[in-house]
C-alpha cells in the first residue's frame, strides 16, 4: 500500500494517517486463529496438554519470526533464550517461589538480559560468523546448564518444580485444562506485542535494515541499536515461551537449549512462512500434530521425512504455506 509522502497539504497528511490507521486496524481474518483455539478447547477434549504446548511453541516461533523474517537476522541459537526462560521459571519453582505469573516476568527479564548481552557480541558480525556466534552462545549455555547440575539438575533435568494455582484458583492439573487457557492468553498478549512492533515505524525501519543496510545508514537510522532492541525483545518473548513450557510440564531439561530445538523451530516457522506474522500459527500446529501422529506409528521415520519435506519446501515451495497461498491468490486476482 503505497502512499506518496509529501509534507505540506492537509489532504496529504490525512492520507498518511489513514494509511497508518488502516495498517493497524484488525482485519476480520485475524480473528480466525483465536476462534479456532477456543473452539478446539471443546472439540478436542483430551488434547489440552498438547494444545497448551502448541501455543507456547507458537509464541516461540513468533519471536524467531521477528528476527529472521523482519530483521533479517538468521540465527541457529534461538533456543538459548527459550532455555534461559525455562530454567529461570523452573529454578524459581523448584526453590520455593511458586507463583506462576511472577515466574513469567522473571523469565522474560532473564531472557532479555541474555539476549541483550549476547546481542552485543553476536550482532557485530554477519553471515556465517553471526550464525556461528549464535550457535556458540546456545552451546555455551547448554554446557553451563549441564555442569551446574546442583542448580539445574544437569542432564537429568530439573525436577521438583511446584507451581501454585493461578490467582490461587486455577490449578495446573494432569489434564491440561488450566494450561490450555493460560498459554492461549499469554500467546495472545505476545502476539499483540509482536504485531504492534511489526506495524510500527520501528518495525518498518527493521525491514529497511534487512532490505538494505547501507541505505538505512544513509537515512541515518542506527543499525546496531535497533537490531539489539529487536534481538532483546525477541529473546524476552522466547523466554516467556520457555517458561510456559516449563510451568505446564513441571519439567525443564537440557533439550530446551539444544541445537535440535533451534533447528526444529526454524523448520516449523518456514513451513508456515517466514516474515508474514502468521507463519508460526500455521507451521507450528502442522508440525506438532504431524509429529504427534507420526511418532505413534514410527518414531524413526519422522526425522527423515521432515528433512526431505524441508528440502522440498525450500526448493519448490518458497515461503511456506503462506507464501504458496499468497502466490495462488495473486494469480487468481490477476486474471
Amino acid at each position: 500500500m503505497t502512499v506518496s509522502v509529501s509534507p505540506g497539504s492537509l489532504e496529504d497528511r490525512k492520507a498518511v494517517i489513514d494509511a497508518f490507521a488502516r495498517r493497524h486496524r484488525f482485519k476480520w481474518y485475524e480473528a480466525i486463529p483465536w476462534v479456532a483455539a477456543i473452539a478446539s478447547y471443546f472439540a478436542f477434549d483430551s488434547y489440552h496438554a498438547l494444545g497448551a504446548q502448541m501455543f507456547a511453541t507458537i509464541l516461540f516461533a513468533l519471536s524467531l519470526d521477528l528476527l529472521i523474517g523482519f530483521a533479517g537476522i538468521v540465527t541457529l541459537g534461538h533456543a538459548a533464550f527459550f532455555g534461559v526462560g525455562a530454567y529461570a521459571a523452573g529454578i524459581m519453582a523448584a526453590n520455593g517461589w511458586q507463583e506462576p505469573l511472577s515466574q513469567l516476568l522473571v523469565a522474560a527479564v532473564a531472557a532479555s538480559g541474555v539476549g541483550f548481552a549476547s546481542g552485543l557480541i553476536v550482532l557485530r558480525t554477519a553471515g556465517l560468523t553471526l550464525l556461528m556466534q549464535t550457535l556458540v552462545v546456545a552451546a555455551l549455555l547448554q554446557e553451563l546448564a549441564n555442569k551446574w547440575s546442583s542448580v539445574t539438575g544437569g542432564s537429568d533435568g530439573l525436577l521438583g518444580m511446584k507451581i501454585d494455582p493461578i490467582f490461587g484458583v486455577f490449578r495446573f492439573d494432569l489434564y491440561g485444562d488450566t494450561a490450555y487457557v493460560y498459554c492461549l492468553v499469554v500467546l495472545f498478549i505476545g502476539w499483540l506485542i509482536a504485531r504492534n512492533i511489526v506495524y510500527s515505524s520501528f518495525g518498518r525501519s527493521l525491514t529497511g535494515i534487512r532490505e538494505n543496510p547501507n541505505r538505512m545508514h544513509a537515512i541515518g537510522a542506527p543499525v546496531d541499536g535497533r537490531k539489539i532492541a529487536i534481538y532483546t525483545i525477541s529473546a524476552a518473548l522466547a523466554g516467556v515461551a520457555g517458561a510456559m513450557i516449563a510451568q505446564t510440564t513441571a519439567l525443564v531439561g537440557l533439550n530446551t537449549l539444544a541445537l535440535s530445538k533451534s533447528g526444529e523451530l526454524i523448520i516449523m516457522l518456514v513451513i508456515g512462512g517466514v516474515g508474514q506474522l502468521y507463519g508460526a500459527f500455521i507451521g507450528v500446529p502442522l508440525y506438532m500434530i504431524a509429529q504427534d501422529r507420526f511418532s505413534q506409528i514410527d518414531p524413526i521415520f519422522w526425522y527423515f521425512w521432515i528433512g526431505l519435506f524441508m528440502i522440498f519446501v525450500v526448493v519448490f515451495a518458497r515461503g511456506g504455506v503462506l507464501g504458496v497461498c499468497g502466490r495462488l491468490l495473486e494469480r487468481r486476482s490477476s486474471r
Binding site: T129, L131, Q133, V136, V274, F304, M310, I311
Partner: protein, 291 residues
C-alpha cells in the same frame, strides 16, 4: 617435572590426532564455503557416511581396512556429486536463510536415514590388527592407531597444500576464492570447479570420518552432534583458506583434549568461550579474507 612433561606429551599427542581428523573433515567445508559462498551445514553428513561405510564394510563384508576406506571415499564422492547437481546447485547465490534451511533439512534427513539403515546405536571402528596396540617411541608408549592418524594427516595436509600451490587446478581454486567474477571472465569454468571442489571436500570429509571413527563415534546423530566442532574449525580458521582450518583444528583439538584431561568438570565450556573470543577479535577467522 617429568610428570608435567609426561602429561604435556600425552595431551599434545592425543590433541594433534584429534586435530588431524577435524581438519580432514572441515577443510572441504572451508573451501566450498569460501568458494561457493554456500553455508553447507550438512557437510558432517558426508563424514558420517564415510565412517559408516568403512565400519560396516569391514564388519559385515570383512573387507580389509585400506580397501574399505577407499570404497567409502568413492561412494561418498559419488553421493556428493549427485546431491550437488540435484540440490545444492539450485541455491547458489541464493539467500543465506534458504541455504541454512536446506542443509538443515539434509541433516535431519541424514539422521533419519542413518537410523533407518543402520539402527540407533553408534558403530565403533575395529582398526586392522597391525594398527592396534602400542608402539614404543623414545621410551614412551603411544597408541599405534593414533600415531597412524597423525602420520596420515600430516601426509594428506602436505599433499593438499602442495596441490593447491603447485597445480593449475589449485591456482584456479585460489583465484575463484579471491574473486569469482574475475575468475569467470578469465575463462575458468567455475561451475565445473564448484562440482570438483565439492566432491573433493566431501571425499576428504569421508576420509576424515572413516579414519576418525575410532573416537568420533559414528551414530545417526553424527551430523548434528559434531556440527558445532566442524563449524568452529571453519569459522575460526577463516573461510576459503586451507591453512586457517589447520591452525584452528590444532587449537580446538589440543585445547579440547587439554581441558578434558585437566579440568573435565568444565567440559566443552572453554572451547566455546575461546571460539567466541577469537571470532570477536577476528570476525572473519584467523586467516580469512579481510573485507
Amino acid at each position: 617435572m617429568s610428570e608435567f612433561l609426561s602429561i604435556t606429551i600425552s595431551i599434545l599427542f592425543h590433541g594433534v590426532a584429534m586435530a588431524m581428523v577435524l581438519y580432514l573433515i572441515s577443510v572441504g567445508l572451508s573451501v566450498t564455503m569460501g568458494l561457493m559462498g554456500f553455508v553447507n551445514l550438512a557437510h558432517g553428513a558426508f563424514a558420517m557416511a564415510g565412517g559408516y561405510m568403512l565400519v560396516l564394510l569391514m564388519k559385515q563384508q570383512h573387507w580389509p581396512f585400506g580397501l574399505a576406506l577407499l570404497a567409502a571415499i568413492v561412494i561418498c564422492v559419488v553421493m556428493s556429486l549427485i546431491l550437488e547437481r540435484l540440490l545444492y546447485r539450485r541455491l547458489y547465490g541464493g539467500g543465506e536463510l534458504d541455504q541454512v534451511l536446506m542443509t538443515m533439512g539434509l541433516i535431519f534427513a541424514s539422521v533419519g536415514a542413518a537410523t533407518w539403515l543402520f539402527g540407533p546405536v553408534s558403530q565403533s571402528l575395529e582398526p586392522p590388527a597391525m594398527l592396534r596396540g602400542q608402539i614404543n617411541f623414545l621410551g614412551r608408549d603411544f597408541p599405534t592407531y593414533r600415531s597412524f592418524l597423525i602420520l596420515c594427516g600430516a601426509l594428506l595436509v602436505t599433499a593438499l597444500w602442495l596441490g593447491l600451490e603447485r597445480t593449475r587446478f589449485g591456482a584456479q581454486i585460489r583465484a575463484s576464492v579471491d574473486n569469482l567474477r574475475m575468475a569467470q571472465t578469465l575463462g575458468i569454468n567455475t561451475s565445473r570447479l564448484f562440482s570438483i571442489a565439492f566432491a573433493l571436500g566431501s571425499g576428504l570429509a569421508a576420509l576424515g570420518g572413516g579414519l576418525g571413527a575410532d573416537f568420533l563415534n559414528v551414530g545417526p546423530n553424527y551430523a548434528l552432534e559434531y556440527l558445532v566442532y566442524f563449524l568452529i574449525v571453519v569459522a575460526v580458521g577463516g573461510l576459503g583458506s586451507i591453512r586457517g582450518p589447520f591452525v584452528a583444528a590444532l587449537i580446538v583439538g589440543v585445547s579440547d583434549t587439554a581441558f578434558k584431561y585437566l579440568a573435565p568438570q568444565y567440559g566443552a565450556f572453554f572451547i566455546y568461550a575461546i571460539t567466541m573470543a577469537i571470532l570477536l577479535w577476528r570476525p572473519r577467522g584467523l586467516f580469512g579474507q579481510s573485507a
